[in-house]
Symmetry: C2
Subunit: 386 residues, 2 copies
């Protein structure tokens, strides 16, 4: 298959037509068809289907559309709609991303099969997007908090060179894409309809912007309308394309939870962003963390850290900004605390208050004075608070 | 030591005086003194200290206060302030709770030692509080969200019979106590000053209410003022008394994080409540979950579940409320989805749209009709959406 360049133009065109036909002749994920194509190659599979010589499960998957579909016509329709067709025979196919899906199909995991071809609107090539891609997904009916956080992650990941993959839906998806766009980074939307269909309708402009800076991709042929079950089917491509999936707000039962399950199934890390426990929008994220399915993340740096095997760890820097009094030994801190509690104090008084021997208190006071934490006055010792 | 009842009144009084003396003569946690008392008994230890025959480390701990402290006077002061003294020799001592602290002292863990005695304001006896106690702690400068959640946990835990243990501070502590009080449950405050001292001053009424429905407890003798280091020292008693510690809002570096560390050190589960990642108040909680130190919890039921070894699990009920269409088989769902996407449709149209064989579509439509998900009209099939 690496020999694409050495093929004649006619052979290439035949392969493109075959894949276009196969992308439309069965409803994805068509597992029998995907296996048959993997065994026979695209042209061989088409030939067998047209002659009705394919195995029964394949014939069942293609029965309804076999006579209505034409690869040639689809390629023309795609071209007219500004779509390019990417196929596994070409060297620019994102093989790694989808080989796990083929593996999952072989393992008979439900609803798992690699895409037969990808219809692409936009400049970027799928393969160049998968190299450093992170999926950011979540609820459509997101809160302001969720959208803010999704945009932050989209912006942050894009800013450090990751492609942000999502589903172009309202809510979290849209915010993640917008965050990536605002950082001038690359972002990819996988649709549950044709890549030429503006869905949701209110995201027409967003989809055009995504195509400009990345790609709008679908395994459905041009013009395919969205259907409810197609969203779940599409989710597997988002999960497969991301090296990790970040879930920002998800209800107890949601498409985002479905994407997370698939990522998990494919062995990709799932990361979940927490939120207020009073918000129904975060119930799914918290449940994923509690069950151990997801790692809790709060910032882009934590995602990057998790994806950087050698882990130069910018996230460790957080925490604990030190205070000057941190360097004090326990006895010195006790005396300093006692001094801070009073206007001024003498040595004996401090010794009693701290429960330290008088000699020790004297020694500590000298240290505190040298270090600038206490000073001697006419009425006794006084703390210098830093 | 179980023989308290068989002791003469004089012996009991001597023991009480000895413990009162020991509770004041060194600044807790006085590890050398605690070990010496564990070996010699309270009266033996006092005798040795007064004669200066104790080991050097003990003499260092007690040097500054030895001559100023009187057990008899302290007992009178406690009585005048309405405090009772609880000591390990009495059968109502909460031994289990503090035996881990003694163990930690033996293991030379820093700042770990069991309390030598407890001064108690209020009705409840420490032992009856420890049986089912949960610590709820968190930031003083809490957010409205944090206080709301702390009150919910306080109320919920108290409502199912747990004693809510905290530190009476502003913010999370106060909200947790108030939540417990509002459920009519028992709550215990450990102070970093004498149990008779109203600290923080603005919580005077709250402390009286806690004493009425539970107890205000301190290892510091009556009248001891609060000092900064005493809060950290006090935290170990909160951690030890709770069978688990719930952290609601904590900064990256905070007293609550310190209590959580101690609970962890003592082998008690640490539970952390998440919050918005945009809030500095939740940074500590998220860090604990990320590091694996804490389990994420969102509701009282999850805390109860974790503390109920046999786990009748009310928390599993959450999630996934089912929808009627959930029962549909994949093919039926596909057809139903397709029907929902159009005004009405004929069999062939549906077959093409779904990519299913015509015969299968016909069979599925009959099932959908029987189940009330679709109906036949003059213009074709129509979905009935549930």
């Amino acid at each position: 298959m690496g020999a694409w360049a050495s093929l004649s133009e006619k052979t290439r065109q035949e392969m493109m037509q075959a894949r276009a036909f196969l992308s439309a002749v069965a409803e994805p994920p068509a597992r029998a068809l995907a296996r048959f194509v993997a065994e026979r190659g695209a042209r061989g599979a088409v030939d067998a289907i047209v002659r009705r010589r394919a195995p029964e499960p394949v014939l069942v998957e293609v029965e309804a559309r076999r006579d209505a579909v034409s690869g040639e016509r689809l390629l023309r329709a795609g071209e007219a709609a500004g779509l390019r067709l990417f196929i596994p025979e070409r060297p620019d196919w994102p093989c790694e991303a989808f080989s796990e899906l083929a593996g999952a199909r072989e393992m008979e995991l439900p609803d798992m099969a690699e895409p037969i071809a990808l219809w692409v609107r936009g400049r970027a090539e799928p393969a160049e997007c998968t190299e450093r891609a992170v999926a950011v997904v979540g609820a459509r009916a997101a809160s302001g908090y969720g959208e803010h956080v999704a945009a932050e992650f989209g912006h942050g990941l894009s800013g450090v060179g990751f492609t942000v993959v999502s589903g172009a839906a309202y809510g979290i998806d849209g915010a993640a894409h917008r965050g990536a766009l605002s950082a001038g980074g690359r972002t990819v939307a996988f649709l549950a309809c044709g890549a030429d269909v503006d869905y949701p309708a209110g995201h027409g402009r967003l989809l055009r912007a995504i195509a400009d800076q990345g790609a709008v991709i679908s395994e459905y042929p041009p013009g395919t309308p969205p259907r409810k079950h197609r969203f779940l089917v599409r989710n597997r491509l988002i999960a497969a394309m991301g090296r990790a999936t970040v879930v920002v707000e998800a209800g107890a039962r949601s498409g985002a939870a479905n994407t997370a399950n698939t990522a998990d199934l494919l062995g990709r890390p799932v990361l979940a962003v927490p939120g207020p426990v009073t918000s129904q929008n975060s119930v799914g994220c918290h449940a994923m963390v509690r069950s151990g399915q997801a790692v809790l993340v709060t910032r882009t740096e934590e995602v990057v850290e998790l994806l950087s095997p050698l882990g130069v760890s910018p996230a460790e820097e957080i925490a604990a900004r030190s205070r000057p009094t941190d360097r004090l030994q326990p006895d010195a801190r006790r005396v300093h605390d006692a001094l801070r509690g009073v206007v001024s104090a003498g040595n004996e008084e401090l010794a009693r208050d701290c429960g330290l021997p008088l000699g020790r208190v004297r020694a500590v006071l000298v240290e505190l004075e040298l270090d600038g934490f206490a000073k001697r006055t006419e009425s006794g010792w006084v703390a210098i608070t830093s």
